[in-house]
Amino acid sequence: MTMPEVKEEKREITFRVYRFNPQIDASPFYDEYPITVEKGITVLRALNYIKEHIEPRLSFRSFCQAGICGSCAMRINSVSKLACTTQVWDELAFADRENVILVEPIANLPVIRDLVVDMDSVVGKIEKYFGWVESKMPENQMGKKEFNIAEAEFKLYDAATDCILCASCISECTMTKANKEYITPAVLLKSYRMEADSRDAVHDKRLGVLVSDNGVWDCTHCYRCMEHCVKHIPIMEAIHHIREDAVQKRGLSDTPGAKHAAAFVKDIEKKGRLVESLLPIRTNGLSWTVKNMLPMAFKMTKKGKTPPPPFMVKAVPGIENLRSMLKELKSRGNSNHHK
């Protein structure tokens, strides 16, 4: 029997690469490098080829070439991912122009040069949000005794420890795009990992910073971070856990974020439906509401769009049953299945 002849697949592919040297260039521009690429080559290998043979000044970061170090994150065809684990061939399907692959630095961080971004702000945020375990063990016992944790506890933050700080999620984050001071998903994830560790001594201090402005309550729930995480870490679960923890430890009237969440819970228990007209007041108080909502409220009233006042929101039929269920659930205490 003869094997069918395997022809090596090759193609000319153009890499359209973002170029910018802030010290020289007035503004960023794109260079195009047409090269012949074999099937099976990664975007990082293609960039290395371009650097070696065409443009030695092209700057990008890489190290492990195996998806471990997190240094080679960039936007490939507008999506943040690791260049070293991304196959050129797979990307062809997403190209806007046939056989042209767009390569840009990750977003939401300042560009140092070409595809290299400045990660200092991320490091600063890890510091701000206590991204480490401050040990409960007294100084004089350190190194003398093991400090064990139970396997069940480790399972809580096992996934979070997979983070390689590549910043792909930061690049894709809606809130970071709108507010550069925002904590960012990677730092939220890291904070959660430390918060959940029983050896940690600064839990309440960390939680206090996490619930302050630019923190955990500012997340829009867009799930972009989780969708784009190169290690498939369920980042939103970590964000939920921090909020759950904040609500349990600091109560439901701690911050506008907590008050907002509380309104949903109370309305479900009372009427089964959300009383939307009161949401702004319950979240931010009366004076904020008057200042921020009034002009729009007038226009909405004209269109018959204002949400009905509380007494007009009818309780859902059969609400008594649900109420009694939830009352009993409360009396049992939350099984707290996330923790």
Binding site: T174, D218, C222, P234, H241, R243, G257, H260, A261, V316
Partner: protein
């Protein structure tokens, strides 16, 4: 005849009544019967799940069990309700223990969560269950002069592990529908971005910046309309549009239609019948 249990969303009961109003106009045209789940309650609006995870499961397990009792799959017209319901369904389907906890309570109402009813978005039902061909046959008024920018909203795309109909990086179900209705789908970068709704009351400036970026992108793409399958996105993109664009000093405006209104227009219903006059931007 295709029959579903229709989940009533809080926002469509209050601020965006035009969603269900327009849907009621044309459902019969597609041989669609939507049985309203009057006893269903608020899904928790992506808040209840972390404030009280067990309550979240009881409330939404009950919502889905109401559909199961009717022997029907469940449909919603709101992205965030879709995600809440599917999130609860996923947890309940994976854990016998949680199912038993929920069913212990549901017994009192003679309800049981078994997992047999699917939870779908109206957009998916149109695309997959009814099919684009059947919809094309009902188009009386092809929207030839309309250039339409699809705005999907987050909770119908992400996380794809819980949703999974569209590729969140390159969604197409809504664009396909726009095309079948005779309009011209416009390609623009923000179609899979966030509208900012869920932080409107907590971080208003940031939310409005997020909304303005998407609106600006749609306006620049040359679209005449935005269409969205989510009433929450609509509330930001229409209700807050002027405020968002003014704050950024962006000129121009763009009307925003609900999915159910775009279908209604193509099926020959009037703007008034579809409640389009209720929008703030015309």
């Amino acid at each position: 005849m295709k029959k579903y249990a229709y989940y009533l969303s809080c926002i469509n009961e209050a601020m965006t009544k035009e969603v269900d109003k327009s849907l009621e106009q044309w459902e019969k045209d597609l041989d669609l019967e939507l049985v309203k789940l009057e006893q269903g309650t608020c899904c928790g609006g992506s808040n209840l799940d972390y404030v009280n995870p067990d309550e979240f499961l009881v409330v939404n397990g009950r919502n889905i069990a109401l559909a199961e009792k009717l022997g029907l799959d469940m449909v919603t017209s709101c992205n965030t309700c879709l995600l809440s319901l599917r999130r609860a369904k996923d947890e309940l389907d994976r854990s016998k223990e949680k199912r038993e906890m929920v069913n212990g309570f549901l017994k009192r109402e003679d309800l049981e969560y078994t997992g047999k009813s699917a939870v779908k978005h109206l957009l998916w039902v149109l695309n997959e269950d009814i099919g684009l061909e059947a919809i094309a046959k009902k188009v009386k008024n092809p929207l030839k002069e309309y250039k339409v920018a699809s705005f999907y909203g987050c909770h119908i795309l992400r996380p794809s592990s819980l949703l999974g109909v569209d590729d969140p990086k390159a969604p197409k179900s809504l664009d396909q529908l726009v095309d079948v209705l005779g309009a011209k789908p416009v390609k623009y970068k923000s179609s899979n971005q966030c509208c900012g709704f869920h932080t409107l009351l907590v971080a208003e400036d940031e939310s409005l910046r997020i909304a303005a970026a998407a609106l600006d992108d749609a306006i620049k793409s040359g679209a005449d309309y935005i269409v969205t399958p989510c009433p929450l996105c609509h509330t930001v993109l229409d209700g807050y549009q002027k405020k968002a664009l003014d704050k950024q000093g962006i000129k121009g405006s763009i009307p925003v239609l609900h999915l159910s209104q775009l279908v209604g227009l193509a099926f020959g219903y009037t703007q008034k019948e579809l409640g389009i006059n209720r929008h703030l931007v015309s």
